[in-house]
Structure formats: structure tokens, C-alpha cells
């Protein structure tokens, strides 16, 4: 078998073979590369938990043939992606680790695709890699980047700005740490104890005090909106959702990966942000 793309690598019209570990980064990379890039994402199924992914031989094959491999890092995909990279050495492959780009390390919050600033840093980094791999098309990639940032992400940027402007400082509650970067970007006030967000995100046992505190926040209506990850709702979370609904607190969801799978990064984000905006509007009454 021949790794995809390896035969055509030398020709000028060849596309850069780009592989992303997760499809949110893959969607961005594909749009930044345009017609000069052939992009494949490994985790695309919304039902797959990236936190506990078991790689297959096909993944190994895909990564083996990549010219640019994008992985999230920060402990998110570290159990399988770096292994597949080092087990399939390829001198003409560049590896872009989001954690390194952002200067984050294992133990930090890995869900950086929910942070507006981080997304922009990653866009810069991907474009820079494209230009390094294919200097001849450097100006094409620069155009692509501008187009992506200014038109594709226009609605995303606009929603971020409006929500921040209108609702900054609004207290919210959340189910797990995936919501934290989003809350930071939007200037929302995350009241849920971070230890709880982290416990749920990482699948450990949350403490009784945290649960009691959240219960109290919901009952006393200290939070205006409750945001939870619908792909990761433990019985604890389900109980909180129920309680929030009982107390009349608007509930909205986010997901870990692109959902539905065919969405682009911006379609997915915009949908979630619109839901959040209407929940905030309902809660605050403006």
C-alpha cells in the first residue's frame, strides 16, 4: 500500500496532505488550505469520545502519509496521537500541536477550540505551516486566511462580540470545563466551582461540597443560564439539568466535537452561540 499523497508530493500541483486528530481543527485547516490541501480528520463521529479514543490501523496509515499533522495535545489526545506519529517516522511530516502553539501543558484546559483568541492563534500557526511546506503558494494561503477570518468567521466573530457586549458579567453555571474557555471569551461569570467542571470533564468523582454548592446556586437562582455538554451527561449532570429546568433557569447545550458531523467549524459554533444568546436573552429578559 502507498500512503495517500506520497506519490504526488513532488509535483507542483500536488495538494498538501493534512491530517487532523479532531475534526474541529480539521475543518479550520481544510478551509485555510482551500484547493491546495487535502484534509482528513481522524475523530469525526460525534459519538466518539476523544478523551478515550483507541486508534486503529487505518489511523496509523493516515498519519503515516501526512505532510502536516495537527493534534490538540494538552493531554487531550496524548494517549494515542503522539505514539502513532513516533511509531511511523516520516522526515517530510510536520506536526503541529495546539498546546505548544498556545503554550499550554498537560493538566491545563484542553478545550481551546472554544476560546476565540486561541482559535485565531491556531489559524495563524496553520497558515504559517502551509507557507513553510509550500512556499510557492504562500500568497494563496495568505488570501485564504484573510477570507476565512473575515467572511467565513464573520458571524462567529459578530456573535462573540454581541454576547460579550450585552451579557458580560452574567453569572452562569456549567457541567464541565469545556464551557470555561467559552465563558472566558464571552466575559460570562462562571459560578460553578472549577474543581467540579474538571472532575466531570475528566471522569472523576466530584465532591459532595461542590455538588451541594451547585445545588444551592441553582435553587437560589444565582446563575442565569446552565450550559452542559450533551455528549457527556453523567447522572449528576442530568440531576442538575432537571433541577435547573424546575427552577426555570434556561438550559443550553454544547458538544465536544462537530455536531452534526458534516457541519463546518463556524456553522457548529454559530449554532451553539445562537442558542446560548437566546438562553441569555430569556434569562435576563433583554
Amino acid at each position: 500500500t502507498t500512503a495517500p499523497g506520497s506519490a504526488s508530493r513532488s509535483t507542483g500541483t500536488a495538494k498538501i496532505v493534512v491530517v487532523a486528530a479532531e475534526n474541529f481543527w480539521g475543518s479550520i485547516a481544510a478551509q485555510l488550505g482551500g484547493s491546495k490541501v487535502a484534509e482528513t480528520s481522524i475523530i469525526t463521529n460525534p459519538d466518539t469520545d476523544p478523551h478515550s479514543y483507541e486508534a486503529t490501523a487505518a489511523d496509523a496509515r493516515t498519519i503515516a502519509g501526512a505532510q502536516l499533522f495537527i493534534q490538540n495535545g494538552i493531554g487531550y489526545d496524548s494517549s494515542w496521537a503522539p505514539g502513532l506519529v513516533s511509531a511511523n517516522p516520516n522526515s517530510s511530516r510536520t506536526v503541529l500541536t495546539v498546546g505548544d502553539v498556545l503554550g499550554l501543558k498537560d493538566g491545563d484546559n484542553p478545550h481551546q477550540w472554544y476560546s476565540h483568541a486561541s482559535v485565531y492563534k491556531v489559524i495563524d500557526a496553520i497558515t504559517a505551516e502551509y507557507q513553510k511546506i509550500d512556499p510557492a503558494d504562500a500568497s494563496y494561503f495568505a488570501q485564504q486566511k484573510t477570507a476565512f477570518e473575515d467572511s467565513a468567521l464573520a458571524q462567529y466573530n459578530q456573535l462573540e462580540t454581541t454576547i460579550k457586549a450585552k451579557y458580560a458579567g452574567t453569572p452562569i453555571g456549567a457541567s464541565e470545563s469545556i464551557v470555561s474557555p467559552l465563558a472566558d471569551s464571552l466575559g460570562l461569570d462562571m459560578l460553578t466551582p472549577y474543581s467540579f467542571l474538571k472532575d466531570i470533564s475528566e471522569g472523576t468523582d466530584p465532591t459532595s461540597a461542590d455538588k451541594a454548592a451547585i445545588d444551592r446556586q441553582i435553587r437560589n437562582k444565582q446563575i442565569e443560564v446552565y450550559v452542559y455538554n450533551s455528549q457527556n451527561s453523567t447522572p449528576d449532570i442530568q440531576a442538575q439539568v432537571k433541577l435547573a429546568q424546575q427552577e426555570g433557569i434556561p438550559v443550553t447545550t454544547v458538544t465536544e466535537t462537530l455536531s452534526p458531523a458534516g457541519d463546518s467549524f463556524q456553522e457548529w459554533m454559530v449554532g451553539q452561540l445562537q442558542d446560548l444568546e437566546s438562553a441569555l436573552a430569556k434569562a435576563t429578559g433583554h
Binding site: 470533564s201 445545588d215 449528576d236
Partner: protein, 283 residues
């Protein structure tokens, strides 16, 4: 502490859980079926995954797989009843069943795509999120299982201690063994909804092992088991509340401390009685 409804329910459920796990666990330790118990607890995981994949409720999966693996282990395990040790020797078979069940679980997990973090509920349970209905269900299961144990208790004891003679006496050793493992499976399935599969195992094994270290009298050690189990659970819940720790850790630690204390006390007593050359008692 009592102002929080979930703590009140945790104490109520803790009482039922400790009694249920204590009685079932006492026989598990006596019969040396800890490994079987552990495997049954662990197979709840693929069960839940499979059920959700097939669109059923996770509870169905829990019960189905726990009881199913109990049946497989009980039916395939050799030892038609010639010796106490015999049962332990099906350990390879149990291991095989467990390893395969877990591989299956990974496949179902993959197919369904449940997030591992929701299976963390499976590992760690949710002792503090118990509703009034949960308590009722738990008590109902506990009553059924304990009634069954009350009915078969003595015969099961006979079959456990002395299978050859029990079989000769007309005690259905094989059927009891199957029934017992099914009850064990049901207990594990119900209890681990709240405690998780780690803590349920600790509650099954630790109080019983401690009690059996303390005394060799069957009725008394069963009583000790239940008492230790209840105390450990309640104090563990209180510690979790005031010390802001996970319940799994506090309860397991207390139970472990009891076991270590009992074991150490016995070893010390033994060593003292062993009599060094200089201080032989010739009474």
C-alpha cells in the same frame, strides 16, 4: 448535614447498601469468590454500554450483564462440589470471561460512543445524588435479595463449607451456587448504581474479610460484617461531607483501616502466643 436532602438519602441508602453488601459479601469471602464477584461487578460496564447502544436503559444492561456473567461463571466453573478449594480453581475461567467481557465492552462503547466520562459514573457512582425513588428501589431490591438469602442462608453455608457432604444430604449445591452468584450479580448491579464498581467491591469484601479475621463463629461474624459495613459507610459519608472528599475514598479508607487493624491485632496476638523459648507456658 441533615439539611441537605441528598445527604439524608445517602445515609438511608448507605444503611441498605451496607447490609445488603455485607450479607452477600460475607458468603463471597467464605466461598473465596472475590474474583468472581469482582468480574461480575466489572461486566456491568459492557452491559451498560451494550444496553445503551441497543436503545435500552442502562439499568437493563447492568442487571442483564451482571446476572448473565454470574450465570456463565456459575455454570461453566468446574467443581461439582468436591472441595472448598475447587471453586477457587475456576479462577482461570473467570479471568477469561472477564477479559472477554471487557473487550466486548470496549467494542460497544466504540459502537455507541458513550463518553468514557459518563462511564466514570460507572466507576465512581453517585452516592450523593440519590433521590427518594432511588432509595425505594434500592430498599426493594435489598429486601428481595435479603429474603432470598434468609431462605437459603443455612443451606448455602453448608454447601460452601462442605460441598461433598451437603450434596449427599440433598442440598442442591450446584443450584445454590448459581442462585448465589445471581443474587451477587443483582446486588452488584443495584448497589453499584450508587457506589460505582470500585466502592461496591470494597463494601462487599472488606467488612466481611475483617469480620472473618475477628471470629470464626458464622452467625457472629455475619453480624460483625453488617455492623462494620454500616459504621464504615456512615462515618465515611460524614467524613466526605465535612472533609470535602469523594465518598469512594473515605468509605474505602475506613474499611481498609478496619481490616488492617483486625489483621494486625490477630498477628500480634499470634506472635505473642507463639511463645519464645525463654517464656514457654507449661500450664
Amino acid at each position: 448535614m441533615w439539611s441537605l436532602p441528598s445527604m439524608v438519602n445517602a445515609f438511608r441508602a448507605g444503611l441498605a447498601v451496607a447490609i445488603l453488601a455485607g450479607v452477600i459479601g460475607w458468603f463471597m469471602v467464605l466461598r473465596r469468590q472475590s474474583f468472581a464477584g469482582h468480574s461480575i461487578a466489572v461486566t456491568g460496564f459492557p452491559g451498560a454500554a451494550a444496553a445503551v447502544y441497543l436503545g435500552l436503559s442502562a439499568t437493563v444492561g447492568y442487571f442483564g450483564f451482571c446476572i448473565g456473567s454470574a450465570l456463565v461463571i456459575a455454570l461453566l466453573a468446574r467443581g461439582s462440589g468436591t472441595g472448598v478449594g475447587e471453586r477457587a480453581h475456576s479462577s482461570a475461567l473467570i479471568a477469561v470471561v472477564q477479559a472477554f467481557a471487557l473487550a466486548l465492552g470496549a467494542v460497544f462503547l466504540d459502537l455507541y460512543g458513550g463518553f468514557l466520562s459518563s462511564t466514570s459514573a460507572f466507576l465512581f457512582g453517585n452516592f450523593l445524588g440519590i433521590t427518594d425513588e432511588d432509595v425505594l428501589t434500592l430498599v426493594a431490591v435489598a429486601v428481595v435479595v435479603l429474603l432470598a438469602m434468609a431462605v437459603i442462608g443455612r443451606r448455602l453455608l453448608f454447601a460452601s463449607v462442605d460441598p461433598a457432604v451437603a450434596a449427599a444430604r440433598g442440598v442442591p449445591v450446584r443450584a445454590l451456587s448459581v442462585l448465589y452468584l445471581v443474587l451477587l450479580g443483582a446486588t452488584v448491579a443495584e448497589v453499584s448504581k450508587f457506589t460505582g464498581s470500585l466502592l461496591v467491591f470494597a463494601l462487599l469484601v472488606m467488612p466481611a474479610a475483617t469480620a472473618q479475621v475477628i471470629t470464626a463463629r458464622p452467625g457472629l461474624s455475619l453480624l460483625y460484617t453488617v455492623v462494620i459495613g454500616v459504621l464504615v459507610t456512615w462515618f465515611g459519608l460524614a467524613w466526605a461531607y465535612f472533609g470535602n472528599q469523594a465518598t469512594g475514598f473515605t468509605i474505602t479508607s475506613l474499611a481498609f483501616a478496619c481490616y488492617v487493624l483486625a489483621y494486625a491485632a490477630k498477628s500480634v496476638r499470634r506472635t505473642l502466643r507463639q511463645g519464645r523459648p525463654g517464656r514457654l507456658e507449661v500450664a
